[in-house]
Symmetry: C2
Subunit: 417 residues, 2 copies
């Protein structure tokens, strides 16, 4: 076992210039990014990331759903790797840090090991998961889900964006349809560093959060079916306006969230309408809803209330509704050994830290099903995220990257685990 | 004055084969059409129509908003013309007859005059108005509106479809940016034959309806503004979900319609959502609404109720709303002389007819502002329209075309009007 005498520190300027370079690819409307999965911008970012990884001496593989693994060899390269990562795709009006920080911090860990000519026993891999946001292809975290066996590879390939374009076709088009099988191998551990996407760390002046659990989340797509008719001659009692049914349901979903306030929350982020033209009653609407609550039983009750509201809305709007797709996450368990390792690293670095809950979905949730997993939060300004105004500062962020670095080194040198 | 000894009759088979040829251009999903204004399909239909008109000996001009006028010369070609027409564009899931019947019946009138070597004193023009449906460019009846001076030509050119493509650019692209000035000339009269888009004529077994008035219609686009945020961490009381505000307003609009049932009706045909992606609260929604009532005062009250509901929805959803565009029609007056002429023609042909109200918008509404106007209805199956199942039969329809023919001849030979 290699003896690390002291805590290492990352090169903050280098990490920041790397993040800033990423922030130039797929510009949004104002200060943020619009880098949807498997678009040209995503390809450009992936190409740059691949180049960086190769320059850092990593061997790079791409799996069949486009997940990129950059491997820094271990002293015993036959050992299961310690994996660090997150995602490089963003929302339509996304920030420059959500997901991106976790991937590029992983790269910075490798670069720091190189700087210090430090070899770990285990290999270290930096991973970029495809389409975490779900902003282009639904559901979110689709490729880490495939890695952990939740989704079948062919099913992932068949998912379509709002223009009807297949995930598999876009993956091939941008040249990231790798041949490595998805998942099915042992990871020693998985570390994901992410911005908090909430205001707590900043408000309390704490540099690092260790996530001990998530909000239980239930999401679903619901089809509402009515009938096209002319908005003039058709009297109210002959109408089957799918958009009215969907609107009634959206209001119900919102009311459910308020009944579980402040812990619970419910969202209608999306409504697809067809034909969506003046003068004609819409025939079809697909409405996306999600419910989140720290208490899984309460989250489940929120879904039950939705299911009770649906027939009422159907009757009132004279339409039909059907849940056509559903997903859930958030009651996965993070690893206590990794938590200890991270606390130890933070202690040695004298960095203030706390345990906390995650309110958003993360690739770490799915990976926790197949490997010991740690999720680390660093503060973000005012908790703003999924908004171009999302912002972080080096002094807010570097403490968490240094904790990540030292916890990863500690773990990568443990061969008895 | 030329003396017409007897009532002429159109060639029903020829008219029907013409309508069927039109029904092959811009096929919909099932049995109907999707021939949106200024698309390739619309261009193809216009090209075919221009060819037919030329073959019928007409001189054809196109004005600056793409309205096509095919002129059959009169004995005294300096007299103001009798104009017959409607539109050739359709809804996204439209039928093969809505609008189309009126244009092609006009062509059949000219062809019948040719068959009979009949010359009228006044010239007769067949017109195709651009973008009547409003299915691609809002508002509907935009080009007949421009002809009657409601809309400025440059403003019409600047209207954009849902993909941000300008009316003026599409008009040029398909080669229908004519150089004839829009409107500004005297029409002797305007006749529009249209399917009823309601069930009354069919139910009562009456072949022809003469429209004596319309439902007063108020339409508007309302912008709802919220703020993008993550659907997980953002608690209910920090949210500004534009889609929830819009949904609340949609439900209110629907409730208003029910309060005025059975005479009044209210519709939400359309909602544009941005960014409309899973995981993110929508920042902007544009909702289209329309209110219709045979009593103009009641229609106005419906709009007042909407305006009262808006602040309530804004407060409840923590968003802002603004009416960004509005339009109205439906209290125009149809011409009593033309009504007499049509009744007389129907009487001589022994065709059952009745006076009735129109519930839909028609180009005739706007043209009635600048010329004596008649709107004629013929039955359609089950009143179904703006739906691919829209259907008519020759035996239902030809009586109204023959009334049109003979009323037009009568009018085109009146030079004292």
């Amino acid at each position: 076992m290699i003896d690390i005498k002291e805590q290492l520190l990352v090169n903050g300027d280098r990490l920041w210039s790397t993040i800033e370079r990423s922030g130039e690819i797929g510009l949004g409307r104002t200060t943020g990014l619009c880098r949807l999965a498997l678009t040209d911008a995503d390809k450009e970012m992936r190409d740059v990331f691949m180049q960086w990884c190769k320059e850092a001496g990593c061997s790079v593989t791409v799996d069949q759903v486009g997940n990129i693994f950059a491997r820094h060899a271990g002293a015993d390269d036959s050992l299961a790797p310690v994996v660090i990562g997150s995602h490089l795709d963003t929302q339509v009006a996304g920030g420059k840090y959500d997901g991106i920080l976790g991937v590029l911090a992983g790269l910075e860990v490798v670069r720091t090991l190189n700087d210090n000519k430090t070899e770990t026993q285990r290999p270290i891999e930096v991973v970029c998961w495809t389409n975490e946001e779900g902003a282009r292809f639904n559901p979110s975290m689709i490729a880490s889900g495939a890695f952990s066996g939740i989704y079948d590879v062919d099913w992932v390939h068949d998912q379509k964006d709002d223009d009807g374009i297949r995930f598999g076709d876009e993956l091939k088009r941008i040249g990231y349809d790798g041949d490595t099988p998805v998942g099915g191998r042992t990871l020693d551990s998985y570390f994901e560093l992410h911005i908090e996407q909430g205001p707590l760390l900043e408000a309390e002046g704490i540099d690092v959060g260790f996530v001990i659990g998530g909000f239980k989340t239930y999401g679903m797509n619901i089809d509402v079916r009515g009938e096209c008719a002319h908005s003039g001659p058709t009297p109210m009692d002959k109408r089957k306006n799918a958009l009215i049914g969907a609107s009634m349901l959206a209001v119900e979903v919102n009311d459910i969230g308020w009944r579980y306030h402040p812990d619970g929350r419910s969202t209608v982020p999306r409504m697809q309408v067809w034909p969506n033209k003046a003068g004609i009653l819409p025939e079809w609407v697909q409405i996306t809803v999600d419910f989140r609550h720290p208490d899984p039983a309460a989250a489940k009750k929120m879904v039950e209330e939705l299911k009770q509201a649906m027939p009422k809305c159907c009757e009132r709007a004279n339409v039909e509704m059907e849940i056509v797709q559903s997903w859930e996450f958030g009651d996965e368990v993070f690893d206590s050994d990794l938590l200890d390792t991270m606390c130890d690293a933070a202690g040695k670095l004298n960095i203030p830290h706390k345990e906390m809950m995650s309110l958003a979905g993360h690739d770490a949730y799915y990976i926790s099903l197949v490997a010991p997993t740690a999720l680390i939060f660093s503060p973000c300004k005012d908790g703003i995220t999924h908004n171009e105004a999302e912002h972080i500062e080096p002094e807010y962020t570097l403490p968490s990257v240094n904790v990540l670095l030292n916890a990863v080194i500690e773990r990568a040198n443990r061969i008895d685990s």
